[in-house]
Symmetry: C2
Subunit: 186 residues, 2 copies
């Protein structure tokens, strides 16, 4: 898939969007801004052809609670997209501060990401990572093209917040992992 | 605008999305999951009919660096949407840990949010909040309906990372504000 900058407005839901004109911000400057923007870390899991697949994402957001909708972005050139292009359901595993290695593993290519990670399979077939601070299972509703990426929207069907996970959530910021809790309250 | 749950898949970019069936997750359970998901805090600003407008958002994500695209969600019933339904450009102000009051003010209805906040106007017309850790100005490319909300996609045009902001970024988690830095590195 190759899309040039002039084609970034690919969606058919464009409402009053101006045609791109002038120069866009350089990639390095853009990355420099988002290095100042911390994010919770999740691993998104699903099953493709009977095999568990998963990848680390720092772009999961709540869209609305009623209906219960979330969204995240995924690069169309990534291996994650090859799974998500067809997946009908998925699980978002919200990582805990004790899962730095899990975050790194599910962002590494060429390994069996599930080999050394504790996980179980839901009755509906999707893998869930043990030790996550919370997880939610949902149905993919929309895959909206934006530039070379897709915004994937998900309707939540079920969830769990395990009571045996002592650590707080995992935060990624400026290429480092952080833990938040009483020590970080302002 | 009133949309029932059965109509959540409103977008015209639906690709292979299943029809919603079965029961969706309850709003309280959904909120309980996302309370475990920390997020950086931003204030999105623009100008409507010559007046500055802005609102607090914890849903800003990077979509891709090349092209430089970001996105966020906004409730179609919010005052923010009334501004964003027509805005062609906007600024995302990434708040610093010193801006807890700014975050609260831009989430409060019925006040002049800009009255006690230091800000300046870009040559292109949009307001920028002084003291933010970084800001980026961009053009609205797409407004994608998802349930009762919209995913707004933005092409970045310019940015700044001020060197005189000493504190780190502002994080929102479980209804509290957090600061991250050396004290929170894992």
């Amino acid at each position: 898939m190759s899309i040039e900058l002039n084609d970034v407005a690919l969606g058919t839901t464009v409402v009053g969007a101006p045609a791109p004109r002038g120069s866009a911000l350089g990639a390095d400057a853009f990355k420099g801004v988002f290095r100042r923007h911390p994010a919770g870390v999740a691993v998104i899991t699903t099953v493709v052809d009977g095999q568990p697949v998963g990848f680390t994402a720092t772009s999961v957001i709540s869209v609305s609670a009623d209906p219960p909708l979330l969204a995240f972005s995924v690069d169309s050139a990534s291996s994650a997209w090859r799974a998500l292009a067809s997946a009908e359901t998925l699980v978002v595993n919200f990582l805990s501060a004790a899962q730095v290695e899990v975050s790194a593993r599910f962002a590494t290519s060429g390994i069996d990401r599930f080999a050394t990670t504790d996980w179980f399979t839901l009755p509906t077939g999707e893998p869930v990572l043990v030790g996550s601070a919370a997880w939610v299972r949902g149905e993919v509703l929309q895959r909206t093209p934006v530039g070379r990426s897709f915004l994937v929207s998900v309707l939540a069907r079920e969830s769990d917040v395990p009571t045996d996970v002592p650590s707080g959530p995992l935060v990624y910021h400026d290429r480092s992992y952080h833990g938040i809790g009483d020590h970080s309250v302002l």
